[in-house]
Amino acid sequence: MSESLIFSISIFVLATFVGIEVISKVPPLLHTPLMSGSNAISGITLVGSLIAAGEGFGLLSTYLGLIAVIFAAINVVGGFLVTDRMLAMFHRKPSSTASDHR
């Protein structure tokens, strides 16, 4: 096993524990925004997509990268925006400006 793989596995295992610790504190009230928000974070594949699309290694590789960039950007932008839209609706007191119903 290479050193980089061992390093990757270590990060994976530690991140699992952090994930369990952090996520289990999220109340059911916010589980939908949690899903859409964490979903946006998983769009981090965008980082890999950007390199694939911009490296200039062959036409096919570049175009696969381009589609990956589009997919991941939808994931990231759509995820964060829709989460924000939902979280904006959570008020302690009923707001007078009957929140936006776009």
Partner: protein, 460 residues
């Protein structure tokens, strides 16, 4: 930018993701937490763009613009009832991106003529499998939820066996690929098989179980990102992918527990019916019918009320008029709260979002464990558009498919008021004893019409 600085910037982005998720633990900090997560993403993207490896920016910018525009439109246009499909579609795109990156990386390695290490050779097929199953499975789940496809389970003989065979074939193809990585077509076979597997593993799952599937796909999309991180040895991908992976798994467990089902049972048993609902039972039993006027009189005399909303409420688009009634009653000095079962909506936490959209303050949205002991001291439990989650058969009837599922104790309230279109059973197809109880008032009709009538009377 040099690689040390890049590594630290990625680390900083990972920290922001964790902090952002942590702030989701309270509705007061949640919105800021989401912004912090987005900031982490922005940092990760900007740092990546300064990478020396990138020589051409035209396609990147074009891709970012197109993707962002689509994401923006989706996020603005989607209705709150359509949120499960939205999350499904977004999951799918994340998975799809992982597949594409994995294949592009394989091509790059080939063109570089490097002797690729064994780890990368194993993680590429793995990433293709998870990414493709996530992409296809999520799209199928979204199509089911949107009603483009039937919500009923699609079953055929030897379904489990063929799925297992396909998975085994993928493993064998992976072994052959590792032995000779020049055989690119093996990867194509893996993608094709994973596509089929994505379809065949989701179609046998019934519409009512979609919350579990969406949560599970959420988890897969995270794992897909993490495996891509393994291929690229990129820590920010591994960390954030893993966080999402655990989040999805935790939510999947919560959903399964709330339905008293094992994950295996949800995925393979083919339980559930179409959204149109099964036909009413043949046996004729009498229930006492009441009008909104009768209900208004009871409510007028009550001091404490707990409302149990189900997805039928959202189908009837009655959440706004319901909240109007709650505000009216609260203004009259009555204690009114909502009791929300974990599977009340179509995805984890869905009902809370629907009620928040209708302007319900979040401090009266109570989860099942918080409020279940309060029903016995409550004058009226109002059940609107919910059925299985209040069915006492879950407590007593051993042969019932609902048996063992945690339910809301509405039958402990002094009076139970049920707003329902008909006596049709719920998703589980189980008749509900609650409707025939002595302290139960049935108000039949469309929830929106009934509640609108009720509000008018109460406001007088």
């Amino acid at each position: 930018m040099n690689s040390t600085l890049t590594a630290f910037a990625y680390l900083f982005a990972s920290v922001l993701f964790i902090v952002g998720l942590k702030m989701l633990s309270s509705p007061r900090t949640a919105r800021r937490g989401n912004v912090i997560g987005a900031l982490g993403m922005l940092i990760a993207i900007v740092v990546t763009l300064t990478d020396k490896k990138i020589i051409d920016f035209t396609l990147i910018i074009a891709g970012l613009l197109v993707g962002s525009a689509i994401g923006l439109v989706l996020a603005r246009k989607v209705q709150m009832t359509g949120m499960p499909q939205m999350v499904g579609v977004l999951n799918g795109f994340g998975g799809g991106a992982s597949t594409l990156v994995a294949y592009a990386e394989y091509m790059r390695l080939g063109e570089l003529h490097t002797t690729t290490s064994l780890d990368v050779l194993i993680t590429i097929p793995l990433s293709l499998l998870i990414g493709t199953v996530t992409f296809v499975g999520s799209m199928v789940a979204a199509a089911k939820l949107q009603g483009i496809m039937t919500g009923a389970p699609i079953l055929y003989p030897f379904q489990k066996q063929t799925n297992a065979a396909m998975l085994a074939a993928i493993v064998i193809l992976t072994v052959f690929f590792v032995m000779n990585p020049a055989q690119w077509y093996l990867l194509i076979f893996i993608i094709v098989l994973s596509t089929v597997l994505g379809v065949t593993s989701v179609i046998p799952i019934g519409g009512a179980d979609m919350p579990v599937v969406i949560s599970l796909m959420n988890s897969y999309s995270g794992l897909a990102g993490a495996t891509t991180g393994f291929i690229l040895s990129n820590s920010v991908l591994i960390i954030s992918g893993t966080l999402v992976g655990t989040s999805g798994i935790i939510l999947t467990q919560i959903m399964c527990k709330a339905m008293n089902r094992s994950l295996g049972n949800v995925l393979f048993a083919g339980v559930g019916t179409d959204y149109s609902g099964p036909a009413a039972r043949a046996e004729q039993r009498t229930v006492v019918r009441y009008t909104p006027d009768d209900a208004a009189m009871m409510i007028d005399n009550a001091q404490s009320i707990i409302i149990v909303p189900g997805y039928g409420l959202a189908v009837a688009q009655a959440q706004h008029v319901l909240q109007e009634m709650v505000s009216t009653l609260t203004a009259l000095g009555k204690t009114v709260r909502y009791a929300i079962h974990p599977v009340a909506g179509r995805m984890p936490g869905h009902m809370n979002v629907l009620l928040a959209e209708a302007n319900a303050p979040y401090d009266i949205l109570m989860e099942m464990d918080q409020i279940n002991d309060d029903f016995q001291n409550t004058d009226i439990a109002m059940v609107i558009g919910a059925n299985d989650v209040v069915n006492p058969a879950a407590r007593t009837k051993k042969e019932s498919p609902l048996y063992g599922m945690p339910i809301l104790n509405v039958d402990h309230a002094r009076t139970v008021m049920v707003f329902k279109r008909s006596l049709n059973p719920g998703f589980a197809g189980e008749d509900n004893e609650l409707f025939y109880g002595k302290s139960t008032m049935m108000v039949f009709g469309d929830a929106k019409t009934s509640l609108t009538g009720l509000v008018q009377i109460l406001k007088k």
